[in-house]
Symmetry: C2
Subunit: 260 residues, 2 copies
């Protein structure tokens, strides 16, 4: 089932996407809710980010080939992560499907997408086991971990390299029924495939991350966990349209525009 | 004026603290609100964290003496930050005044407080100048950036060293009228003063951080920015009561308990 969050008569509402229609739902997908009789044309609706997370977890480095290739690019030895240590991103950076990625005036040419699978939590989670970890996940969406690589190198933190406004597109919706092992992540720039990788070919899979994080941290409904990207992204320039497609979920599409 | 958030008839509510009473307010302090006629005894009320931030900004390293002393402890040269680069903390770690700090079973002896001044935002803020930065701050509260130093050294991220559940006490309330330059931060363990420093003796002050962050990131009402700590904290053990007092705001008090 596909759950979206959309602008309904000027206010955020959840809805269920079936074909080209959205059926509005009052309440939260992971809480009490009532399906209404109101339906809207998907094509005419403004989709919103599918959740506003309390905590925005992000795995960062999580694919072996990505570690190897990025290290080779720097002329360094690959440094594979030894444990599933989670990082964070900032809510201010979130933007929805079809909203623009705004390239800051001061940013340089090494401005890149990162296509990521995102777990959206539906149940409170503390001390999960790898076996029951996925019981706490409500569904899955897509994230684009947009990165300014020169800032990422020069700065002590990632406040502007990864958390500037619009640097975290997420959407288009949450899919509850997936087959993680059958998923392929395909990234297109202006319609041309630039990257394609097996989504679940992670160093630490979602259950491992959820079990490790929840040994120390409570995860609550509406939280998200972004799970990293593979390969070596290429640069995006103003005017480019970036599409991230994950089998069974859909396509997250955003256009790069210049900062006014 | 002191604004608190408290449990009112089982639900979170804002209130104004005057003497030993809380007057309940419907709505948000920084938005439309109505002062009610309902008052409650402060001593009998359960205080909640004064805001649930959308983005939880945290300066990290921001006092010269702290950098110098912490480096000396490690036998290293001090590495002073060159720019006001903000970091992040996680909402799951927040806890209120008088709630326990839970020391994880697996944590070691180097378990420490960090007393910090916290800016709470009341106005949307993008591209602030140093001159108008404080116009966006609604008021000020106190944070305790609890840290497990061995995890901080061993881990690639700060997910458990600084973001485990209850590691981020914040409160007791928001004070809107302060004199930053007159503030002193005093930290007591079990009633004994362990640290005392001039609160505003920062490497980068609040206006500098707000201007730098808002060049790239939109800060919204309810967001918080923690501004770092000075000196070298000492270890806390189970049973210790940590009090952080900042002139003009009040005292944030939390007891350390063992994980069940």
């Amino acid at each position: 089932m596909k759950w979206c969050r959309f602008e309904r008569d000027g206010r955020p509402s959840y809805g269920i996407v079936e074909g080209d229609r959205i059926t509005a739902v009052d309440g939260l997908p992971w809480g009490e809710h009532t399906t209404t009789t109101a339906t809207y044309a998907l094509a005419k609706s403004k989709l919103l980010i599918p959740t506003v997370p309390g905590t925005f977890f992000c795995a960062g480095i999580n694919y072996a080939e990505h570690v190897r290739l990025m290290a080779a690019k720097r002329g360094a030895e690959p440094d594979y992560p030894k444990r599933a240590e989670i990082g964070y991103r900032a809510n201010n950076a979130l933007c929805a499907h079809d909203e623009p990625i705004v390239k800051p005036r001061e940013s340089g040419p090494n401005f890149q997408y990162e296509g990521e699978l995102v777990a959206v939590f539906g149940k409170r989670c503390r001390n999960a086991t790898k076996e029951n970890a996925l019981d706490h996940v409500f569904g899955w969406t897509i994230g684009n971990d947009v990165s300014e690589r020169d800032w990422q190198k020069s700065d002590r933190t990632m406040y502007r390299s990864k958390n500037a406004d619009t640097f975290k597109p997420m959407g288009p919706w949450i899919e509850t029924d997936v087959n993680l092992d059958a998923m392929v992540t395909t990234i297109r720039l202006n319609g041309k495939v630039v990257d394609e990788f097996k989504t679940n070919n992670m160093i630490f899979d979602a259950p491992t991350f959820i079990a490790e994080v929840s040994r120390y941290c409570t995860i609550v409904p509406g939280d998200v966990m972004w799970l990293g990207t593979d390969l070596v992204p290429v640069n995006m320039t103003v005017g480019d349209v970036c599409e991230i497609d994950i089998t069974g979920i859909g396509t997250l599409r955003n256009k790069v525009v210049a900062e006014a």
